[in-house]
Amino acid sequence: MIELNHLVKRFGDLVAVNDLTLHISAGEFFALLGPNAAGKTTTIKVLAGLIKPTAGTARVAGFDVQHEPLEARRRLAYVPDFPFLYDKLTPWEFLRFTGQLFRMDEARLERVARELVRRFNLEPYLAKAIEGLSHGTRQRVAIVSALLHAPEVFVLDEPMVGLDPHHARVLKDILKERSQQGMTVFVSTHQLSIAEEMADRIGIMHEGRLIALGTREELRRQSGAAGALEQTFLALTEQEANLREEHAAAK
């Protein structure tokens, strides 16, 4: 469902994503982890079509993001860590607007929106201006708007930022349900508990490279560190950093 092949993205001299190849199948819940400046957000931006890759390809649901952009985007939903919303609209108006952009018919739009609004407890806020809503409520509105058109691929950058435990649970449940129904979920996060609890597979990026990929157990074996995912993550990233240092010293 998501195919990244030898993806490279450079910013001047900096190689933000370095030869990344990753295939994620339909219905899979994938978590991308990595320290700051590892290249996670850049990978997501390429996947969402916000920036062009320097080399390599990105495909969503079989469509190349660069060469068949509209087909890819119709099947994709993307929620950044600080999503943009039209401040003077109400959440209901915003939901209708995004549904219309995806050319949903009125009846379906209303039915799906009502259902998601109910699950995310947004009814009390539907008629209020978005500018007056808290960060968490705005985040819920953004997530609902992204889920409206039943995307085949859902890309989220730090989805739990601002959500209270109750709504974080609701989001996790919905993501799990949708993923069981065939939606591919691609989450970039620093919250290791989400990856540990939800992900079918986990990828760890470090300085633009995918240094580890596999299930929770596979990563644990690869790292040689026992315990929670935190230990695995720290062991793998430290090993990689040491390798880089040795490599640099040898040079």
Partner: protein
Amino acid sequence: MPPRSEVRRAAAANWPSPATVANPLWLLLRVNALQSWRRVLALRQQSKLLTALIGVFLVGYAALAFLLFYRGLRFAGQFPGLGAVLIERMIYLLFACLFALLLLSNLVISYTNLFRNRETAFLLPLPLPPQTIFRWKFIESTLLASWAFLFLIAPLLAAYGLTQNAAWHFYPITLLFIALFIVLPATAGAWLAVTVARFLDRRAFQLAALAVAAGMIVVSIIWLRPEPVTDEQLQTRVLVVLDRLLLRTRFAQFPLLPSYWLSAGVQHWAEGALAAAGFFALVLLSYALFFGSLMFTRMGTRFYNAASAVQSRGSVLGRWRGMRAWRRRAVFSYPRGWFETVFGWLPAVSADARALLVKDARVFWRDTTQWGQTLVLFGLLAVYILNLRHFSEQLTNPFWINLISYLNLGACSLNLATLTTRFVYPQFSLEGKRLWIVGLAPLGLPRVLRVKFAFGSALSLLVTAGLMVVSCRMLVLAWARTFYLLGAVVVMTLALNALAIGLGALYPNLKEDNPSKIVSGFGGTFCLVLSFLYIVASVVLVAVGSPWGRAGDKPWPWVAGAWLAFLGLSWLVGWVPLRLGVRRVVEFEY
């Protein structure tokens, strides 16, 4: 490898025609129109005083501008044999200058709107062709860049129509001419913005824009340099002198300039030469349609490539070997920086206040918009003041010398008021989400305000006091008069800064990061209006209180009374809001 044109064509072919998408442009227009309408409603609901203030300001400006233009045009039209030529040239010149300003305004607004805008980033991953996003952003940028032009030009055209006894249909047709005209700088500005974004990063773009602006100023200074004219020539060879003067304005009549088509069309229509006016209307229409349709059909892929490039590149300046070496050295040497060094020399300033000063100075310096606008506004004033020396020989009448010196005081203060409202007023609000840093520091918010006031005032005084002294020297005023006007400008500078800082603390907007949006709220509008009223009243009081009257020296009670009123007004407008602001921040909750 296929040729670049083929690659481009293939890339463009990958975007389906916008026509296949169900009216996405209409959806975007509707949503943004709804947003704008609600902003207007919110303005009314937030404060009736603000609505009234804005209303009075708009109507007042329109009425005053109309009156001045009307009288000015009547006055110019009365020159025997020359009036019509003078008015014609002034119209050509005005529209040529406004065309250049519109182009610059469209370039800057299009760049920000296309590449530094959160809505654009939100729309790009949606199933919308980039051409549709570009169309919407082009329309939005054109409206944002051109509304002030319409506002400025409407009173002039009304006055022009009246002085020329134009028929009723002159006014609606003029609107049509202007509607066609604004498309041209908008298309040029948008195209330039996309091209510039493709090849320059933000800092390089700002530096290039400033370099171009500086170059244009230098060219203007050289082109418009004064030529010495003797009294004898002025009396005996008026036509020759005038011809030489008008020769300098010929560039405004270059037939390929869109401003020429607009000026010629409007003037022909006012004179009743409808066929000639129709010709220019058709020229404008054909160019507007041609370039407008290019914008609406051919810019999508270019825009998308530029948007990707904007987010993808490292610094353009950073590609230079020298710059890279300097940056590497700077990163590893942990320099104090010259701001810290310079402020370190200030005696009797505590370390925390100095830290705040250094932070504010660095923010000011690194925001090119701030010092760029300051430079442009005061640069133009400086050019004017320095040119006064060329008239000092002709200016022998004390009445004109006096009048010009007070007008200079007013112009200097009005420039300052624009800048204090734009940059000093939002200072407190701009701490915004960072307020906990300075708010929780032992410095305390009241001292934060005082430090900001001191910094703003010191910086402003350097410019206003300097300009005032130069202006007086150019007019060959006596030192006593120079010090008199210098004293007035010092008091006014302090009052305007205190007013901006005080109102900024009384009406904070901590949610907004954009200073122009902070300024457009109630407090900012109030600050601007109050500053202007204060300046008008102060200049009148300083002039009335001048000890040097036309009929000899004025009695001292008269002088003292006027100065007491001036100082009292300054205290009321400056010190009181600052004091209230300080009180407000003592109990500030954030």
